[in-house]
């Protein structure tokens, strides 16, 4: 468990160093995710990498533990709403309506694009 968490933190740290070192407009943890993915893929190719948390489902178990309660992690930021009550009293309803419409439109456009492009691809493959 400790070894898995350490590996995850090391990936995040490497991601932050990489992103800040090269001044990339990418969040450090996202780069860290790519590093961990590359490590997992490399482990299947090179046996010598399969040690510590990278063997016997160690880091996989640790990651599942973190992701099982992903919603909890957003609660502290959400409670930040108490700092914005005066602004929300003035514009809250309009902001909520704007966000709600935007979310609906985004969901529909994204799911529609995914399905249409997916269907076009399978049709192309069926009739070469």
């Amino acid at each position: 468990m400790i070894a898995s968490l350490t590996l995850i933190l090391l990936c995040q740290l490497a991601g932050e160093i990489f992103v800040h070192g090269l001044a990339l407009p990418v969040p450090g943890p996202v780069m860290g995710m790519l590093f961990l993915l590359v490590l997992l893929l490399a482990r299947d190719k090179f046996d010598w990498l399969a040690c510590g948390p990278l063997q016997g489902g160690g880091v996989e178990g640790g990651a599942r533990g973190l992701l099982a309660h992903l919603s909890l992690l957003f609660v502290p930021a959400g409670v930040g709403v108490v700092q914005k009550l005066d602004l929300l009293a003035e514009h809250g309803v309009v902001i909520a309506v704007v966000l709600a419409i935007s979310v609906l439109v985004t969901l529909l456009v994204t799911v529609g694009t995914f399905l249409v492009v997916g269907r076009l691809m399978t049709r192309k493959r069926a009739t070469p």
């Binding site: 995850i8 933190l9 990936c11 995040q12 969040p27 450090g28 943890p29 996202v30 860290g32 590093f35 961990l36 993915l37 997992l40 893929l41 996989e60 640790g62 990651a63 599942r64 973190l66 992701l67 309660h69 992903l70 919603s71 909890l72 992690l73 957003f74 609660v75 502290p76 959400g78 409670v79 930040g80 709403v81 108490v82 700092q83 914005k84 602004l87 514009h91 309009v94 902001i95 909520a96 309506v97 704007v98 966000l99 709600a100 419409i101 935007s102 979310v103 609906l104 439109v105 985004t106 969901l107 529909l108 456009v109 994204t110 799911v111 694009t113 995914f114 492009v117 997916g118 691809m121």
Partner: protein
């Protein structure tokens, strides 16, 4: 020695212990409620935990800074949890690789829709420019969105609130919406909610279906990249142009 309950409260209300415990206790209760309702969308655990804790802070006159002293230990785990998304991605790499083209097209189209729709709507409703800028990165995960907001000179704490509200709205609406539209492809459903509603949408997707959760996680990570690039561009064209 008789402990004065008021001085005990004054002491405890300044400790991280109390606020970390409150955060976990309230979330554990709202999550149990969500489970008891069969993960009903309206029993969203983040939403209910958020208003209960916020009401408690207001009732006890506790500042957000004091609260965050305890809650930061939970907040910190957002970063490692993002890294941890590599594991479901790795385990489902074959399904993901097979859907790479629809994913990338939906990513760019969806990301542009999220930004342009919120900016145009906010302006149409006559919100001040500073609020419009703060809302622009709302579909991306909290830490990234606040960074974008700061670089635009907008209000980062308002951005955080908009991000959480967007996440909760998407998580509540996605299942009934997709069921009504008759969409049964869990890859597409997950991808859409991860893109529109970042980690809260991803958490919802994992509750509904494992494949949906994987695609939501990918959408959330990729959207963090694309939004960082597109928001400054959209703001230049739509707000300052």
């Amino acid at each position: 020695m008789t402990a004065d309950p008021f001085s005990l409260w004054v002491y405890l209300s300044q400790t991280p212990l109390l606020w970390l415990t409150v955060t976990l206790l309230v979330y554990a209760s709202t999550d149990a409620l969500s489970l008891a309702t069969g993960r009903h969308p309206l029993a969203n655990p983040v939403f209910h935990a958020m208003w209960i804790i916020a009401a408690f802070l207001l009732a006890t006159g506790t500042s957000y800074t004091t609260y965050f002293g305890g809650a930061q230990f939970v907040h910190f785990l957002l970063g490692p949890a993002t890294v941890a998304l590599a594991v479901p991605l790795y385990e489902n790499r074959r399904i993901v690789a097979a859907a790479i083209v629809p994913m990338l097209v939906a990513l760019v189209v969806g990301c542009a829709t999220a930004i342009v729709s919120v900016v145009l709507l906010a302006r149409a409703f006559g919100l001040p420019d500073n609020i419009v800028l703060s809302l622009a990165p709302k579909s991306v995960t909290a830490g990234v969105a606040m960074g974008i907001s700061q670089s635009l000179g907008a209000d980062a704490s308002l951005t955080a609130v908009a991000v959480i509200l967007t996440g909760i709205m998407g998580a509540i609406v996605v299942t009934p919406l997709m069921n009504r539209m008759g969409i049964t492809d869990y890859r597409a459903r997950g991808f859409a909610v991860g893109l529109a509603s970042h980690g809260i949408g991803t958490a919802r997707a994992f509750q509904v279906d494992a494949v949906a959760g994987v695609f939501a996680g990918i959408a959330m990570s990729l959207n963090a990249l694309v939004t960082s690039l597109l928001v400054p561009l959209a703001v230049t064209l739509l707000v300052r142009g």
